[in-house]
Subunit: 241 residues, 2 copies
DNA sequence: TGACACCGATGTGTGCAGACATCAAAACTC
DNA sequence: GAGTTTTGATGTCTGCACACATCGGTGTCA
């Protein structure tokens, strides 16, 4: 059902709004959209309703469908994130995700050490060791796969559904980093060991050691990436009062 | 337009799904819903489409509208959070938010010290001082208001739109804590000073001091609240593979 | 004469009703 | 049991009535 007319309409409009092709304040008329996308009113109306719930547009009688500015968009919605990653703001989005990740993962490691179910702890250790092996062998695709699995397990093991939900976004940042050639063929030796340290600390329930090791990974990751996106402009959203 | 039929239908169904009144796997028929809510098909369809984008339901031809399990819900959607806060899972939701906040705020403080615009830094210092005064005077409502403003400014000052977007949720946790009588009339003296420390560190651009002081606030907050929700069951979401 | 309040015309989203298309589950046939 | 048909739900389209924010014209008062 991913290519229903409804879905395609959402995709079309969402992409164009977030790319800036349809700028904030731009007003669309439902009738024009029907005409432009060659679909019926019901399809347009359902699509607009979804975009409205994402904060991308608002509707006003006698005016039309108004495109909202970026600070009204829901920055945590997976679709919005995906659209931003496909836009010129890709760099800024990746930075935001990396910052979020580096804040969350150490906390997740701490929680996982306290709460994760036993099987998950064991799997985490296995994956960490497999990562180290793959890293030594320079198996880049295999390493990426394990890396994603490791961090997904970690987030899931926290027992916080919000943390767990970030695994998809983390996978995106890891993949993006690899695809863009920011990863060396042989990952940093210390970083490999830190992953093992995180897993083993969680396995033995040592919360502060888990956080500490995770924090080291995150600080290294951030310092590695920071120079690539220093040119990305930051946006300061005024406090709602 | 918050009381449109469309909006009311979303509210009705969203509330019932998240409360567990409509359990995962439960199947609804559009026709039945029209009848039950006394609205037309278009209203139901638009509402279902929005719920679908939130991960609350999925539609299948020849079957109907199926309610999805909690691990499919988008845990970052403001509506979902609001509905969970109004449900029996309120405690678990507050804990999740508190954990997220305690992970994010120190990171936000660090970023704010590096990036926040000058006027925001000044305002942050003012608010921190006002907080200390209100705390000393035992002005609880005023203190809550300033507390919310302080943390909103902090998150906004990070220049990370995802962090900034959490201010609403943070306000919710702070308000919830006060309403439920978990706040003493006179806040802990050290905590008041830590707020001032955060603000002043940000004002002078001292990132690590800002993080450190913010981390102290978060650790104290978490340890204060931890005993109130130890009975909340944790949910471990299996890793998607 | 000019400023201002009122009020109706207009245009657009909102809601309704009914039709047909589509497609996958379920029943049926061989 | 494999292939085919039937069936029943969502998907899509269309015409209509209504609500209501905006705009512009009209009348009143200073």
């Amino acid at each position: 059902m991913t290519s229903s007319l409804h879905h395609r309409a959402i995709e079309n409009l969402g992409t164009r709004i977030i790319s800036g092709d349809l700028p904030a304040g731009h007003i669309m008329l439902a009738e024009k959209l029907e005409d432009e996308l060659k679909v019926s009113r019901s399809v347009i109306r359902e699509a607009v309703r979804v975009l409205q719930s994402l904060g991308l547009v608002e509707t006003t009688k006698r005016v039309g469908i108004r495109v909202l500015p970026p600070n009204r968009w829901n920055p945590f919605d997976p679709q919005v994130i995906r659209w931003r990653l496909a836009s010129k703001a890709r760099g800024a989005q990746l930075r935001s995700l990396a910052e979020l990740r580096s804040a969350v993962e150490p906390a997740a490691a701490e929680l996982a050490a306290q709460n994760a179910p036993a099987p998950l702890r064991l799997e985490l250790v296995d994956v960490a060791h497999a990562m180290r092996d793959a890293g030594h062998r320079g198996e880049v695709p295999r390493f990426l796969e394990l890396d994603i699995q490791f961090h997904s397990l970690l987030l899931s093991g926290s027992g916080n559904e919000m943390f767990a939900n970030l695994s998809g976004q983390v996978a995106e940042t890891l993949t993006g980093r690899t695809v863009h050639g920011l990863m060396p063929d042989h990952p940093h030796e210390a970083a490999l060991q830190w992953h093992v340290d995180v897993a083993e600390a969680i396995a033995r329930g040592d919360a502060s050691a888990a956080r500490e090791a995770s924090d080291k990974i995150m600080r290294r990751t951030m310092s590695q990436m920071s120079d690539t996106w220093t040119e990305q402009p930051r946006v300061f959203i005024p406090v709602h009062r």
